[in-house]
């Protein structure tokens, strides 16, 4: 592959740890890696690893990483065969895909039409229903003042349920009704509030799950309806919908439930003729047998390494190969991987001060070594962690023969990790990995929030007492 004519060029349109990951995958398949950077990232680890960098704009993402025309221009200037968008930024924006397609540059992701079809909740729900994927029971509220109508809605959807404004968003305009009496009381208020807040009083009701797990299925489609499933991940340790710890496989799933999740995901990928790596997210209720479709993430995800480690595959290299028209070189694998892999996200945030971002100058970084340890990071000694972007510093991943061994090895790895000069979320992970609930496996997404609040309160009181 020394002839430049046969060496493909990958433009990496992202930053941070995922830029490093994609550059390494490009090199893995014998491609040249060009990194599009903002002025804040010119001296980053990714910039040094890449064969070439192109400065596409200033530090602000809105004027650099979020501009499809600058990414496309950089692709043309670097002679790229394929653009890999990473996650976040433009990874699920159909505009970039379309501009690239018009210029004959491949995109390491799904087609624009797929991105549109799964891009908003209501159209994604339609696709899911068409594919026979279980969705949350929901129904439109025709008249919020009609008690009999509401009774019927409640009976068909089931309690507890959420009253939601059709035009609401970002968690606003949502009310919880545990029973019929509350629903009758809430519905007219919710309609009046929706008119005031969103200019439209339309409502719908949706079944609420107060103690569900977040389980997702890793898929890889060939773009023609062919599907490979790479197991599932549990990402239930979350704070305000931000995932903190992820693992593969999801622990404690019955064979039947796992089959429902995998079969639904396979059907959805077929329906979409999905191309490349993607994730189908579900809620798995801990109080009933319900499994509910949440959304499709049409990109490589932050937590993809646990799947890669558990199954021994390279999903990012496969994305690049597929986009270049090559065999992605992925195997058929069993539903449950032969090993367990767990990941903690190390963020530049202060977990004792409401997770306030804590960027700054890192003096030294030191990672643990040993069998099954993987670190995906863009940190280095003397790195000034910039304030402009995501707070993700590193993903520490450990693989072991079973879950208990993986939890123990990861806990030890967290303790042996040193990131000096800044505050990080490492102490939080030590706490969670030692907690009996987490060790038992299968905590719901509502578990971590109150746990950590209680922990922070106790810590603060201890500090006060020490003074």
């Amino acid at each position: 592959m020394s002839d430049p004519a046969t060496v493909p060029t990958v433009l990496v349109a992202n930053r941070g740890e995922i830029a490093v990951r994609v550059i390494e995958a490009a090199h893995r398949i014998g491609a040249r890696a060009v990194l599009a950077v903002s002025t804040a990232d010119r001296d980053s680890v990714g910039a040094h690893l890449a064969d070439e960098t192109i400065v596409i704009g200033p530090a602000q993402a809105s004027q650099s990483y979020l501009r499809p025309e600058f990414i496309a221009q950089a692709a043309l200037q670097s002679g790229a065969d394929v653009v890999h968008p990473g996650y976040g930024f433009l990874s699920e924006q159909p505009e970039l895909t379309e501009i690239l397609e018009a210029e004959g540059v491949a995109f390491a992701g799904p087609r624009a039409e797929t991105l549109r079809a799964v891009g908003d909740k209501s159209s994604a729900r339609k696709v899911a229903i068409a594919a026979g994927v279980p969705v949350a029971a929901a129904a439109p509220v025709v008249d919020p003042h009609d008690a009999e109508h509401l009774r019927g809605l409640g009976e068909s959807v089931g309690y507890p349920l959420l009253v939601k404004a059709v035009y609401g968003g970002g968690g606003r305009g949502i009310r919880l009704a545990p029973d019929y009496e509350t629903l009758v009381q809430l519905a007219p208020q919710a309609a009046a509030e929706a008119i005031a807040a969103f200019g439209n009083g339309e409502l719908y009701v949706e079944r609420y799950y107060g103690a569900a797990r977040h389980v997702e299925v890793q898929v890889f489609g060939d773009g023609d309806g062919g599907v490979l499933i790479f197991g599932d991940r549990d990402c239930s340790v979350q704070r305000r919908h931000q995932k903190l710890i992820e693992e593969c496989p999801a622990p404690g799933l019955s064979e039947q439930r796992r089959r429902v999740l995998h079969d639904a995901s396979r059907a959805l990928v077929r329906e979409l003729r999905y191309r490349g790596a993607g994730t189908i997210e579900f809620m798995v209720d801990t109080q009933s047998e319900d499994v509910i479709f949440l959304e499709v993430n049409a990109r490589i995800q932050v937590e993809h390494p646990v799947t890669e480690e558990a199954f021994g595959v390279d999903l990012v290299a496969a994305q690049l190969r597929l986009a270049l028209g090559l065999d992605p070189q992925l195997p058929e694998v069993p539903a449950v991987p032969p090993a367990t892999a767990i990941e903690v996200r190390v963020n530049a945030e202060d977990p004792d001060r409401d997770f306030r971002p804590a960027p700054g100058r890192i003096t030294t970084v030191s990672w643990p070594r040993g069998p099954g340890i993987r670190v995906d990071t863009h940190l280095r000694d003397e790195y000034s962690f910039p304030p402009f972007y995501d707070s993700l510093m590193a993903k520490l991943i450990v693989r072991a023969h079973d879950r208990a061994a993986a939890v123990g090895a990861l806990e030890s790895a967290v303790r042996r990790t040193r990131i000096d000069g800044v505050v990080t979320t490492l102490p939080l992970h030590e706490h969670v990995l030692n907690h009996p609930d987490f060790r038992a496996g299968g905590v719901p997404t509502t578990w971590f929030g109150p746990l950590w609040e209680e922990h922070s309160r106790a810590t603060a009181e201890m500090r006060k007492a020490d003074r």
Binding site: I54, V55, P58, Q73, D350, P357, A358, P359, F385, P387
Partner: protein
């Protein structure tokens, strides 16, 4: 010490930094709740003082506007980018005397409005701050570039139809002393 309530959110701070970066200040210090933000386009701010973890990286936006001769009037200068001007010993024989005019975006630089037409400006021409000195093409969109400084064009750093990065020097203007 201010209460938690008066502490700005992280996005407030980013907005503030972005806004200040877009204004013409050389040095700014703002106290905001219990957070103080200090920015400088020149040398790095000293490490002491009340800065905490949040304020420190703000120095990252400091944009060393290396201007070998007289600095251009801040009000009429387009945002200088973080690319330090070349030292003038590039070895390419380019006369880098004067203020570098950086490319405002990634794209292809054109010296004239259309193929075969005379260039907007040439070496030795006098330019105003709002004089168009070239065009950057980004995905078929033509974006005029202004000098940003009044003076005399000393030389071009890039050729016609050359691909440029954001912040790359396009040409040099010897500013007028006012």
């Amino acid at each position: 010490m201010a209460t938690e309530r008066s502490t700005p959110s992280w996005s407030d701070l980013l907005e503030l930094v972005t806004e200040l970066d877009g204004a013409g200040f050389e040095n700014v210090a703002i106290t905001y709740g219990d957070v103080s933000v200090r920015l400088s386009r020149g040398d790095l701010i000293s490490e002491n003082g009340s800065s905490n973890g949040s304020t420190r990286p703000a120095t990252e936006v400091s944009t060393p506007a290396e201007v070998p001769s007289a600095p251009a009037p801040a009000a009429s200068t387009p945002e200088p980018v973080a690319e330090p001007a070349p030292s003038g010993t590039g070895g390419s024989g380019v006369d880098t005397t004067g203020t570098a005019v950086p490319s405002p975006m990634v794209g292809v630089f054109y010296r004239s409005p259309s193929p075969g037409a005379p260039p907007f400006v040439q070496e030795g021409d006098r330019v105003e701050a709002d004089s168009t000195i070239g065009i950057i093409e980004v995905m078929k969109l033509m974006n005029p570039v202004q000098a940003g400084v009044a003076g005399t064009v000393s030389s071009f750093a890039v050729a016609d139809a050359q691909a440029v990065e954001f912040g790359e020097d396009l040409l040099y203007v010897v500013p007028e002393r006012s």
